[in-house]
Amino acid sequence: MAAKTIISRPVYGTLSPQPGKHHLFVADAEGALAIIDMAGKAPAGFFDGAEIVFIPGPDGKHIGALEALKPAQLHIAPSFASLLPRLRQTLTNAHMGLRLYLSGTEGLIGQAMQVALEAGIDHTSMQTEHRGSLARRMQCVHCKGITENVTTQPATCAHCGLLLLVRDHYSRRLAAFQGVCINAEDRSEVPPMEEVFR
């Protein structure tokens, strides 16, 4: 899967319950399953001090299963952009001892991590688990535009239209992979587009 030779390529783990009283989960789609699996290993009362922020996606699955964990708070959001102000607010008011758990797609993990880094949490202190789609958030290195949910290789930049090779080089600051023009020498050369990040 992930190319080990490129060290900027994020490596994800498996969520595990951390000591402490305050736990903040941010998840999308199948990321809910990572929380539910972790709940099996959590000590009694763990979710009494937990807040779950969940973006279910179009099919609306897993909400009931998260409710069943009885977290102190469960907040359902339609998109990452819509929950951003709330997440910022929560992190601004938080104290040391808050533990952060991110699970789901790379786009979700990366963007939530970006906000948490700004709030002062070191990336090594966050729990992450990749679940669901491998779709990438990609920055075009030429026009700097960000294209969400990239599943093909190469991919077309949604901003400038260049055909880009989606690299494994990842920017934690931008929460995005780098896309580099694949046919800069000769635009008439169009390699076949394959769906690889499903």
Partner: protein, 321 residues
């Protein structure tokens, strides 16, 4: 040769009593040049030539890292210790030529932190003298909590309060003032890093509470100056150098190896840095591991030892050195 610790030829430029227990020593380079730069939390290893015995003790640099014309350390007198601090107090006078190591930092600030929360106990204040000076010089956000037995033993407490006012909080044992640790740890903003230096009991208490309250271990830093513990004398064979040596009851294994003319690596001489790690070739007896470096599994296996602080009791011991 100790790894990374090239030696510096210095002269004692001043000796100043601080209180009943603590004396401060100033060193300058014999050639008049500036000393190497260091960062807050660094220590040097001071060589003490006491008759035919050489003692090597680590001490935190307490001067400002912004001033490298001299190094300053503070030594607390330990009347029942192994004699290093007594030697410093009794025999080290201005004008004495000494050899110290280059500074080594095993307790550096994490400058990505939003805030630095410092907890000092007793003579554990010394690395914070340099760290606070460093942070104050760059507008860093810090808060220092300092516990001492009595006001008169609050080494540099007055200077710190003068310099940093309300960023320094003092707690005196004789007035029953205790840090409300759980409250302190639970009210710090995200991005705070914690630093603790003091007696082992204090370090353990703070680390335990921080872990229980959800502080990630990467945000908790501690400095442990464990002096080697005395014990029964024992014999050691050194396989590579082909020597058999005796470790005296007041001597550490590392010191005995050095006295035999072998130059093993070291940095901290306190069982935390990992430099002195040595393989055990064979052993018949019991290890007394006093280090904080090896894992419990390593300790049980009996295959490794940290000679700077650990000892042995038994029939025979062969080390790789």
């Amino acid at each position: 040769m100790s790894t990374g610790t090239t030696k510096l030829d210095v002269v004692v430029s001043d000796v100043a009593p601080v209180n009943d227990l603590v004396t401060r020593f100033h060193f300058r380079r014999r050639d008049g040049e500036l000393l190497p730069t260091f960062s807050g939390g660094a220590h040097v290893v001071v060589e003490m030539r006491d008759g035919d015995r050489t003692r090597l003790n680590p001490y935190s640099l307490m001067g400002s890292p912004l001033n490298t014309s001299e190094y300053t350390i503070s030594v607390r007198r330990d009347d029942v210790g192994r004699g290093g601090s007594l030697f410093m107090h009794r025999s080290v006078k201005p004008g004495l030529e000494m050899v110290i190591s280059y500074p080594v930092n095993l307790f550096s600030l994490d400058l990505r932190a939003r805030k630095h929360l410092m907890l000092a106990g007793g003579i554990g204040i010394t690395p914070f003298m340099a760290q606070t000076a460093q942070l104050a010089g760059s507008g860093g956000n810090f808060e220092l909590h300092y516990t001492c037995r009595t006001a008169s033993l609050g080494t540099y407490a007055d200077i710190l309060q003068q310099r940093y006012d309300r960023r320094v909080k003092l707690y005196h044992d004789d007035r029953d003032e205790r840090i409300d640790l759980d409250r302190l740890l639970s009210t710090q903003p995200l991005g705070t890093h914690l630093y603790v230096c003091g007696p082992a009991g204090m370090i353990n208490w703070v680390r335990d509470r921080a872990a229980a309250l959800g502080w990630p271990s990467e945000t908790v830093h501690f400095e442990h100056f464990a002096a080697p513990q005395p014990g029964a004398p024992f014999d050691v064979a050194l396989a590579v150098s082909g020597k058999t040596i005796r470790v005296g009851s007041q001597q550490s294994l590392l010191e005995a190896i050095e006295a035999a003319g072998v130059d093993p690596p070291y940095l901290c001489r306190g069982g935390v840095c990992g430099q002195c790690e040595t393989n055990v070739i064979s052993a018949d007896g019991k290890f007394i591991h006093n280090d904080h470096w090896l894992s419990e599994e390593d300790h049980r296996s009996g295959c490794k030892i940290m000679p700077c602080v650990s000892r042995f009791e038994g029939k025979s011991l062969v080390l790789e050195r």
